[in-house]
């Protein structure tokens, strides 16, 4: 087994373990910390897959901003009591997830594209190339995304505001 495959399997094992911890740890704060670990490992995968810009965005936006928001809300609500677990649901959920995972793997791996079509150029996945695609072909979705973020800001303020 050569080195890239070994590194892949190590990271994949860590990713699966930390996602299981996200789901099964009883304390929400611990789940949030496990989720940060999972997001950081996914950002390593992004960098390995020649998407350095998206990897940096992943660390900044997900592991940085969104998880800070999650932790802030957890501590704001002061949820110290651990929740009761849905024992009856666990077998059903495990079974359906197993089925879903099998179907997804089978469907995704059906079409094998060419083995390694991208020469490992410096340009692919760079901020420049991403921005070129974003501002040439995807200008309208980009603007719609900015409107969506504005709506989210206003909506969050309206929802979380105390009724006076």
């Amino acid at each position: 087994m050569h080195l890239p495959t070994l590194i892949f399997f190590t990271l994949a094992a860590f990713l699966i373990i930390s996602s299981l911890l996200v789901v099964f740890l009883p304390n929400v704060v611990h789940s949030a910390l496990a989720l940060v670990t999972a997001l950081l490992i996914i950002s390593i995968f992004f960098v390995v897959l020649q998407a350095p810009m998206v990897g940096v965005l992943q660390v900044l936006v997900y592991a940085g901003a969104i998880m800070v928001l999650f932790l802030f809300v957890i501590m704001f609500l002061n949820l110290t009591a651990t929740e009761p677990r849905r024992r009856a649901w666990l077998s059903f959920a495990g079974l359906s997830a197993l089925l879903l995972g099998g179907v997804l793997s089978a469907m995704l791996t059906q079409s094998e594209p060419a083995a390694d079509p991208v020469a490992a150029t410096e340009l692919f996945g760079s901020p420049e190339m991403l921005a070129r695609s974003l501002f040439n072909d995807f200008v309208l979705p980009f603007e719609i995304a900015s409107v969506l973020l504005l709506v989210a800001i206003v909506g969050a303020v309206v929802l979380a505001k105390r009724r006076s």
């Binding site: 789901v23 999972a38 897959l49 810009m53 809300v73 704001f76 666990l90 991208v118 969506l148």
Partner: protein
């Protein structure tokens, strides 16, 4: 240097997505459910990036960019709803939210 095949990444993201589905089904805490949804979104992002790399097209990375923007909006609105629900009934258990249940 020989790289890891595409199928490995696809199977890994399918596994992580399924774990997220388990979280949505078994957790009884709205914030944990939201975190499981974030996990599922990230599994999909990994698929996008893997396909982008192996098909040699940048569009997958652009899609991930938009997924991140939508996920940020979703997290903000979801957590605002959680705060609002907690104010009303001092609980974040989704099982107690059955006002619409017939």
């Amino acid at each position: 240097m020989q790289t890891v095949p595409l199928n490995y990444y696809l199977i890994l993201s399918a596994i992580v997505f399924s774990i997220g589905v388990i979280g949505v089904l078994v957790r009884r805490n709205l914030i944990a459910v939201l975190m499981s949804i974030e996990l599922m979104l990230n599994a999909v992002n990994l698929t996008f990036i893997a396909f982008s790399r192996f098909l040699g097209s940048i569009e997958g990375q652009v899609a991930v960019f938009f997924v991140m923007a939508v996920a940020a909006a979703e997290a903000v609105i979801g957590l605002a709803i959680v705060i609002s629900v907690f104010r009303h009934r001092q609980s974040v258990d989704p099982q107690e939210m059955q006002l619409l249940k017939w």
